[in-house]
């Protein structure tokens, strides 16, 4: 879902019906642009009215994002630490700051970083069920 709803170029948002509705396709070709974001990737939002998919039902169980979320729910079930682990530690930080033309002197941090999720020793015991242990998903 990518159709934009806003009526001012400095406040971009989109909301779309899950069930089939024609209006979002009818009004789907965004014309306002963005006054705030540098190189805002509008491409699809500019041509939403040409895409018949926008007026179809969107509760598609084969959608890629749904499949990822389903996998994440399964991981939370299989790994209590992902569900309840309070411990979050950044292991190293391999990012650098880039300055984009949009933002004067505000840097944008890009790169890669690993974190560890785990049992918060002394507070939690995820080996147990309930209480300060493993909660249901």
């Amino acid at each position: 879902m990518y159709v934009l709803d806003n009526t001012a170029d400095n406040y971009i948002f989109g909301s779309q019906a899950m069930s089939s509705a024609l209006a979002w396709q009818t009004h789907g070709c965004y014309k306002l642009g963005s006054s705030q974001y540098f190189n805002f990737p509008l491409d699809k939002a500019l041509r939403g009215c040409e895409d018949d998919w926008n007026s179809l039902d969107h509760r598609d169980p084969s959608n890629a994002i749904r499949n990822v979320l389903k996998a994440i729910y399964h991981m939370r079930l299989a790994f209590p630490t992902l569900n309840d682990g309070f411990h979050l530690e950044q292991l190293s930080n391999l990012t650098h700051e880039v300055f984009l033309p949009c933002c004067n002197s505000t840097p944008t941090e890009t790169g890669i970083w690993p974190v560890a999720r785990g049992n918060f020793d002394g507070v939690q015991n995820l080996g147990e069920l309930g209480g300060d242990g493993n909660q249901s998903v």
Binding site: N6, T7, A17, M18, S19, S20, A21, L22, A23, T26, H27, C29, Y30, K31, L32, C49, S55, L56, D57, R59, D60, P61, S62, A64, I65, R66, N67, V68, K70, A71, H74, M75, A78, F79, L82, E89, L91, S92, L94, E109, T110, G111, I112, W113, P114, V115, A116, R117, G118
Partner: protein, 525 residues
Amino acid sequence: MVFSNTNATTKFEFDCNDENKNLLAPFQQNIVVQNLFFPYEEYTLKASKKELFVDSVKEFHGCLDGLEMPAWGFKALVPKEKFVGNHPTITSFSLGHDARVFSKFAPGNPQDIEIGLTFTQEMDCDNLKQVITISSRTERPEEIAHFEDIRYEKVQNFTNSTTVGTPPGAFELKATLKNVYDGVHMVTVRNASAENGKFYTAATDNFVFRIGKHDNPIVFPRTANYTLGLLHKEKERFYVSQKAAGADLFRYSTNWGSSWSPWESYHSGNVTIDRQSWSGTKKQAWKGEHIIMQHWSEPAGSSDHIQHVDLGLPSDFPVSRRFPHLFLHSPFNLYGYDAGVKNGIKLLKDGKWKIDFMAEWPTKFHFNVWGINPDGKPDSTFVYGDIDRDGVLDRMPPSSLAESVVNVTRIILDDGTYNYRMIPAGSSALQIVIFALLFAVPVLTGFVAVWTFMAGFYQVKTNTKGSTLPIAFAKSMFYGHLNNSNAAVTDKIAEMGVDTLGLTTAGQTLSKRSSVLIATLEYDI
């Protein structure tokens, strides 16, 4: 867990010996880790310089010296022995979810539909046959669609999804659906089991598709938005023959959506229409009968299915209409209060609305369906403007007037798509000529006026011969002649010093002594 936010696939290189350049793992060295997300790849951790104590034994933190990450990628890495598989999921439905299928057969005849479902894992074929079902909303509830010829095959060519972490389809079910009537159909897969019996889809997955003719507003709500031949009149009673196979409920409006009937359950065949009350000014009335049908379908979960119908229109009437009339409200007619200005919009033969509009640029306007109410105030129920400047009308309350700037003179509106356009009127060559003339003519006429004035009044004339006026000139000629013929006489008289003839005085004076008249004429301009 590893995250990256680069906007393209990036191959990162790290140095495990440098504390500032290594990608540390919370696990010790030499452990094999595996990604919980697709593609479930494995990495062997190398040793870093950072110490880690496992059961009081000194070890080193594991480290990766290189890693390829997709754009905005993420990975969840766990030691290989803790890896658990994943649930199977459905990656595609071959018709496409909520696909619209055009029914090729005559109305009331069933057809066969080929469907396919792709799973991420090999599935238990016997189990699948039991958990896959179809339910239908048609005009023939007694006719039940069923699966036939279910086939399975492994997908040979994997196509990787562009979405990070999504597994591709690996196993496909194909089947033929028999006895499918027009309407809305839902294929349901309830908790299907994978081949290994260990994992299930753990979900009820519903896929919808709709079959119908072009005039079915449930299947093709955009093209079936207007139809003829739906409405019949028999002895002052109206009947609508329903076309919306797949609907559960319907309602109608005989007064352009000002009020609606209660929702009634849908059935095929004719429906009697009770006219709803309407009152308004003569200008707000409309020709012929117009009914708006609205349908709701439970499996589709939507009531955005509108069908406009006309009856009793003269033969020269446009092909379709979705508004009774439209009025342009704008500052040029004080938003409708100035009734003297013509603001009605004409419906053309091709079903589009047109008005020739002239106002001072820039200006704004909105379309008002009902115009001025009997109480003399503009109606506020159906007011269309354009807030987001996309050339498509937005219905909005009049209190939130958005500025719609018009700089041309003609407006065309398509009431099916709410799309409006400005059509430039007139010829550009003519406008260029007019512009050039407007530029040149005042300057030229200015020069002409100055020249005329100067030529007429500004001349300084040196009078060398007295008056140059024609009469005076003639006089002087006459007296000049007289003087010559009577020269002797006049000389004699002059000598005598007696002016016997008063008439000759001027001639005498002229010959004797020239007199100069200096005059200034002033005009108060």
